[in-house]
């Protein structure tokens, strides 16, 4: 089971975990990204996330499918937020359940690492004195 969500609404961690829970599973690994107050020593006011929505959903599903192929995991939820996020809010949440924990850890880490490389979502950091699209320039 794969559950992909791209939403402007706050993500719900309990819901996300419930989606992957199963009596066949012994462990769930959950990664929760949170907006940091600082980046390279500079105070962040807020973040703005934008997505190429249809492709982002497709790429998130692809990554979850790859994880399913690579590791014996049971259920995967990948939830990403768009729009304006304040410090401490959650842009991304990944939950993976498996019979044994190693697979859950490996798959969850693979998903967040790959998501950050391939999913067409962009983050703008807004500071007191300007703003920058993260990773855009060398």
């Amino acid at each position: 089971m794969i559950d992909i969500l791209l939403s402007t609404e706050p993500l719900d961690v309990s819901h996300c975990i419930n989606l992957v829970q199963s009596p066949e599973c012994g462990g769930i690994d959950v990664f929760i990204g949170t907006v940091r107050s600082q980046t390279k020593g500079k105070q962040v006011v807020r973040l703005e996330f934008e997505a190429y929505e249809r492709m982002a959903i497709k790429e998130m599903r692809k990554i979850a499918e790859q994880a399913m192929d690579k590791w014996p995991v049971h259920k995967i939820a990948v939830h990403h937020r768009t729009g304006v996020l304040q410090i401490g809010e959650v842009p991304v949440m990944i939950a993976v359940s498996a019979a044994h924990r190693d697979a859950a850890f490996d798959a969850c880490r693979y998903i967040i690492d790959t998501l950050k490389q391939t999913v067409p979502i962009w983050k703008k950091e807004v500071f007191e004195d300007g703003e920058v699209w993260v990773a855009a320039h060398p």
Partner: protein, 80 residues
């Protein structure tokens, strides 16, 4: 043919809008499209990198663009 190129993130700032119309000759591939775009929008060359997506999929340089394809500029992603 006329195609629409969607822009996201910093590409939207470079274009000054969410999409641009471009005239392409027949059998234009992704590599040629990038050259055309970079000529019109030289700031694209300052990016760390960028990809082109055709119909929601990352497209290799030699993919040929057809009428009706959905084309998008994908600057370096930074989700998560």
């Amino acid at each position: 043919m006329e195609i629409t190129v969607l822009a996201f993130g910093i590409a939207k700032d470079i274009f000054g809008r969410e999409s641009v119309q471009i005239s392409l000759g027949k059998n234009t591939d992704i590599a040629s499209l990038k050259e055309i775009l970079e000529e019109q929008y030289p700031k694209l060359k300052e990016l760390a990198s960028y990809m082109i997506a055709v119909n929601d999929e990352y497209a290799h340089a030699d993919i040929v663009i057809n009428t009706g394809d959905e084309i998008a500029i994908i600057p370096p992603v930074s989700g998560g």
